[in-house]
Symmetry: C2
């Protein structure tokens, strides 16, 4: 399944909070159209996390290039009676003409670090807030979760099986993308294969076995319909009994030129079943038949199965991945940091922000591992690698979309650079993120000014 098609996600300007439109109207009335700088960042890590992985930039840039209102939406806005006709006409003409700086997708990052910076006339920079967060937040949540599974799986292939319980269609598709980017081997979601060029995998469902009078007939029918990819689900009734049926069936299928590639376990004590099934298959002369495991798996379950040396060859991860079940959201924000050349700072309790347009510099240790980051003002000189790079100027991408394979390589390189404590599935000792003294001084001077 080859050539990816470009995906068309929702890019309607009505996919937003009402206040974006009402504020916009006020800005226009006041002629407040000078340059604003907003930054998207995460305030704190969810529990049991030491790092996050940036994702979703590609879909954000698509949105910025294509945001619009349909004729039907324009009608509806006019009918609503809430907005002047002049304002609706302004919305009709509106295009995004600003600049975007960002950390590339697949970059490991930490709290307080801007991962996307938008520089645009205030009305535009404000209006895009809701969908910008909606797109960056979700894929970052899933890529960060998927990266943990990749670390826990110790090199065994992982496949996303989570469309059915993802929160809607877009979540399912973007979760397939984000998890592939973070190191998964593929997805079961066919449309994600078409739209993103992700390898698509599948086995069979319990219902397939149940619809047949007996298990062996079901296996046989499946094998002849899918000769290139015979993976049989063996836990519908009795797992070990089914494994023995597979052994008997294998020689019969061989005569027809068919090979059983694998079996899937989906319930019970997976390590125990895997050991028993492995023995049955090996003793039955089927050492090449792989064992795939699934069934409410997450990174902790993976880690335990790998630690127990369960003879499982690959894992399918569903709901816990696509809903990021233990941490389904990030405490993230898109905040105004500068308007008309004037740095801004929000001081709400527990939600204060660092003012001005910023940069993040990363320092490595002698072994090339991530050692520490510094958040600075964008124009402040500092050693290390600058992580926030220009990606869009005047509303146009500076480069064509990077192939997903390249982002995937970057993510893998980033995970390889994680210091060992951050590779564990628990709270850090966090990587130190220092706020530069120039940035602290600016915040202080703004506070003193009132």
């Amino acid at each position: 399944m080859r050539t990816p098609r470009r995906i068309t996600l929702q890019s309607s300007l009505l996919l937003t909070d009402l206040y974006q439109l009402t504020m916009l109207q006020a800005y226009l009335e006041q002629g407040m159209e000078e340059t604003a700088v907003f930054e998207f960042f995460v305030r704190r890590l969810p529990p049991m996390r030491g790092f996050l992985m940036a994702a979703g930039l590609e879909q954000l840039l698509d949105y910025l290039e294509r945001l619009h209102l349909s004729a039907e939406e324009l009608d509806w806005l006019n009918e609503s009676g809430r907005f002047s006709r002049a304002f609706v006409e302004y919305l009709e003409r509106l295009r995004f003409t600003g600049d975007v700086h960002a950390m590339p997708e697949g970059t490991v990052f930490f709290p307080e670090e801007p991962i996307v910076r938008v520089t645009a006339p205030l009305p535009q920079a404000q209006l895009i807030e809701t969908r910008l967060i909606n797109l960056l937040h979700f894929q970052t949540v899933v890529a960060s979760k998927a990266a943990r599974s990749v670390l826990a799986a110790g090199g065994k292939p992982l496949v996303d099986f989570g469309l059915r319980r993802a929160h809607g269609a877009e979540a399912g598709l973007l979760a397939a993308r984000a998890s592939y980017l973070a190191g998964f081997s593929g997805t079961a979601t066919v449309q994600a294969g078409m739209l993103f060029g992700i390898p698509v995998y599948g086995t069979m469902a319990h219902s397939f076995v149940q619809a047949h009078e007996d298990e062996v007939t079901a296996f046989e029918h499946f094998a002849s319909a899918q000769p290139q990819d015979v993976i049989l689900l063996i836990d519908t009734y009795d797992t070990e009994a089914a494994a023995r049926k597979v052994v008997t069936l294998a020689s019969r299928l061989k005569q027809k030129g068919l090979t059983i590639k694998g079996v899937r376990l989906d319930s019970g004590d997976l390590a125990d079943h895997a050991r028993k099934v492995r023995r049955i298959l090996d003793e039955g002369g089927l050492p090449g038949v792989r064992i795939v495991a699934s069934g409410n798996l997450d990174e902790s379950a993976l880690q335990a199965l790998v630690a127990a040396n369960a003879p499982i060859d690959s894992f399918a991860i569903g709901t816990c991945l696509t809903t990021s079940a233990d941490a389904p959201y990030l405490d993230c924000a898109y905040k105004l940091q500068e308007y008309a050349g004037r740095p801004c700072r929000k001081r709400s309790e527990g939600k204060a922000t660092w003012p001005g347009r910023k940069q993040v510099y990363r320092h490595d240790d002698a072994g090339g591992r991530i050692a520490s980051d510094v958040v600075t003002l964008a124009d402040e000189p500092e050693d290390g690698t600058a992580l926030v790079q220009p990606v869009m100027r005047a509303g146009r991408r500076l480069a064509p979309p990077a192939p997903l394979s390249a982002l995937r390589e970057r993510a893998a390189a980033e995970l390889a650079r994680l210091p060992p404590p951050l590779r564990q599935l628990r709270d850090g000792p966090a990587v130190p993120v220092r706020i530069s003294s120039a940035l602290r001084d600016l915040a202080k001077s703004l506070d003193e000014r009132g």
Copy 2:
């Protein structure tokens, strides 16, 4: 904002797991196209839940009426080399011609109870599985979560502010729908207003205040741009200081014929701020200015604020609602219960199902409260109200879509019928759900047959 437009959600047949297509191919090869009965149900309640609320049926029926493949998708399938041309042509012609029975949206339900039953030729009934679960699961998750907030809020209005951290666009839109159905007063998501006719609300963002040189100017500009709906966000710098500015501003605005309708608190100790702000407003002669609270609220926080008699008039609920943060998924399934007249049962460990097509009867207590349910075979005589009703026959709806307002009334009536222990935000004593003896007997006879 009036006339709802019909929403067009994704109804592509490729929005599915690969195995649906491979199993379909096997069914067709074997001529297995007899009638199958699948049921969708929840296996167990998430922690701290006593009940669930059914939602998402409308979008499921839309999908069943409109499922299709685009020309581009057909090309891609042919190019993929995985499927025969005859099979792709079959998919191109495929329409859903089956029957659907379901509990109406807004119905309170419990584990083991089928909320949707699909009766259709096996290939169709199987193929729709992934998107069916995807649509029913998410709205049921959110409606169930929203219902808890409605119970906790003690009659105070609630608004959905959660699009930005919902898992994608579809999640944001459907969360607005599901929460409105469950009793919320509206949403901030403009497109949900257009597509579902939900009332849309909004205030202002911190960036609006920050973009101005001072808070009072920001408030004044906002009021003149949105004269009909002036709600001012007062926690950007110092909440009580801002409340005093509101008092001074109010008289100046009055001279221009402008009225401040409310203020919003979004950080810190909301009860404490609300009390101080209420006093400042009252002493400043503004008893009519309402206080709206937001900021990472969920049903527990609501309950605490209501119990503390915090003078808050309405609440905006965001991320915790749209991600259902404490329980982002349900242990639910869509299982084959009958094929070609033969009842089926899955016996996988911890995932066994009750066989056959089923019905749920509800019994009330003397006060009209929900007392107990019985799950029976569909044709078994039983007292009580049958909850599973026909909604689609031969692929066509039996009635036009019910207005959302009607579903909302049903949900409110259902919540009013909840026995007091289930109205609490903790684990039940569960409502007893009995499995009829005929159903137990059928399961036993299938187990004995092997």
